[in-house]
């Protein structure tokens, strides 16, 4: 009982109460703060950019993640252990280091590949492709971490049965493998989407933070707060927090039903 009270008090003070206050601060003057946000064309542009970047990054990471998970679980190849360890690296690299590393390679001025790419008319850093890459980098392992355990659990008997009955690789994947791992993929996609929408540090380094062009929603929160527009900062933060909480609730509601 004492243990339970300590845990509840700890989580209340660390997460629940502060989170509630953000909501309260947002609605302090009624709907004015939120209205101020959605009527500001630069903020709307930032929200749209964040959403577009997140969707592209999630699509890339889902295709990559499902493919790599299949390779890791179903096949044997040299360097497999190393690859599986390296795939977790993005989770423990500082976002600022992620941004720096991309600038060092794709920076237009003196990056390794940057000048050549810009010569060919393709700007990465300080443009949307850089933001997409930074976002894809930080969220890279999330789909893999959800799909690999599911693939291991379902085994490959059904796939082998399908193959022995004459199904080709594509048919086996779409009819047998994908339906079996669909919940794992769903959790991975939802978590990646939340993580991608909220990326801040890496995007700050590669985006250049140009108002109305490469400024994303998280950068708006910082800019509003530092410019003493606390209402606007709270409102933008509230919208982002809403998406994050919704993602967690969706995953937590789906998961137990799937297991039973």
């Amino acid at each position: 009982m004492v243990k339970r009270l300590i845990v509840i008090a700890y989580l209340f003070l660390l997460v629940a109460w502060p989170l509630f206050l953000v909501g309260q601060n947002t609605f302090e003057g009624g709907l004015d703060n939120l209205r101020g946000i959605v009527e500001d064309p630069d903020v709307v542009h930032a929200l749209r950019l964040s959403l577009m970047v997140a969707v592209i990054a999630v699509v890339i990471n889902t295709v990559f993640g499902v493919g790599v998970s299949l390779l890791l679980v179903r096949y044997e190849f040299p360097g497999k252990r190393l690859l599986s360890a390296l795939l977790d690296v993005p989770l423990s690299v500082s976002p600022v280091v992620v941004g720096l590393s991309l600038v060092l390679v794709y920076g237009g001025r003196d990056g390794w590949f940057g000048p050549a790419l810009e010569g060919a008319g393709f700007q990465v850093v300080f443009a949307t492709p850089g933001i997409v890459m930074a976002t894809a980098f930080v969220a890279l392992p999330l789909v893999i971490r959800e799909v690999v355990p599911v693939l291991e659990e379902v085994g490959d008997e059904q796939e082998q049965a399908a193959r022995s009955l004459g199904a080709n690789a594509a048919q086996t994947f779409w009819r047998i493998t994908l339906p079996a791992i669909k919940w794992g993929v769903t959790y991975g996609v939802v978590l990646s989407l939340a993580r991608s929408l909220g990326e801040f540090g890496a995007v700050k380094v590669v985006s250049g933070n140009v108002l109305g062009e490469t400024r994303t929603a998280t950068l708006v929160v910082e800019e509003k707060y530092l410019n003493f527009d606390k209402g606007g900062a709270y409102a933008a933060a509230f919208l982002l927090a809403l998406v994050a909480v919704a993602a967690i609730v969706v995953v937590s509601v789906l998961r137990p039903r799937d297991q039973s």
């Binding site: 700890y10 997460v15 953000v22 390794w112 801040f200 540090g201 998280t218 707060y225 994050a244």
Partner: protein, 272 residues
């Protein structure tokens, strides 16, 4: 079924299509992650060891690294205790509102870090309803780390605790062991690898944290400036070489953590 597995104890060899898939995946992974991270290490070492050492031991940078590593260590200790306690309550207790606690634990993982900073600022900042104002102090750094690392120990310990066999504990208790002895001698040893893995993840996350500190800690040089902030100001001053040097230190820490995790995982699988 068992004969099939005996015949093919491991996965299949690569076919042409899966080999091509592996190639494409590796190309993308290299372009996105491996080459950029290599560029950090190469840039850091370009000026030679002396230059690297100067950048890392610069008074302000050294203070930032000390603060980051020290605070991350302290936060990890708190997480080991609180994370295990939270996992314990979630697995062993049944009560109204448990689902809500489960959601609260995962929120720091999905919440944008800049929002996390603002969230903490609203309760512990200048307009705190509690009357505590910790912003621009080192306590703020500690609190921000504590917030963003909350899920790691809980989520690694929880599944292991749920799988534990009650009978062994009951046997220990029936043989006269006190509850504390049962915990220390029976439960804790089985949880140690999970706690260690969670601690390593939480340490790595704390050391690399950036976004939640931007609004919260004030980033005062020598006092509340953490390593990531230091790297960013080097980037903004167009001093990419020292940024890369400090970034290489952070990468070395992440790498060490991954190696530790791998060793723990191997030991656990060997034990079965």
């Amino acid at each position: 079924m068992s004969t099939i597995q005996a015949a093919r104890p491991r996965g299949a060899r690569l076919s042409r299509a899966s080999g091509l898939g592996l190639g494409v995946a590796m190309l993308w992974f290299s372009l996105l992650v491996l080459i950029p991270l290599t560029a950090v290490v190469v840039t850091a070492s370009e000026g030679g060891w002396g230059h690297f050492w100067d950048a890392v031991t610069n008074e302000q940078t050294a203070a930032a690294i000390r603060l980051t590593v020290g605070t991350a260590f302290g936060v990890t200790l708190v997480n080991v205790v609180m994370g295990t306690l939270i996992a314990w309550v979630l697995v062993r207790d049944r009560f109204f509102g448990k689902r809500l606690l489960e959601i609260l634990i995962d929120i720091p993982f999905a919440l944008p870090t800049i929002v996390a900073g603002l969230v903490l600022l609203s309760l512990y900042g200048p307009e705190s309803p509690l009357g505590v104002d910790i912003h621009n102090t080192r306590v703020a750094v500690f609190l921000a780390f504590l917030f963003v690392t909350l899920p790691f120990v809980v989520r690694t310990v929880q599944p292991v605790l749920a799988e534990l066999d009650h009978e062994v504990e009951e046997a220990a208790a029936s043989l006269g062991a006190s509850r504390f002895t049962t915990f220390r001698r029976i439960i804790l040893p089985s949880l140690t690898p999970a706690i260690a893995a969670g601690a390593a993840l939480s340490f790595a996350r704390a050391v690399s944290e950036y976004g939640s500190l931007v609004l919260l800690s004030g980033n005062l040089p020598m006092r509340t400036e953490v390593t990531s902030v230091r790297i960013l100001s080097s980037i903004e001053n167009d001093n990419t070489d020292s940024a890369a040097a400090v970034a290489a230190v952070l990468l070395a820490i992440s790498f060490a953590v991954i190696v530790v995790l791998d060793i723990i995982q191997r030991r656990v699988t060997r034990r079965g």
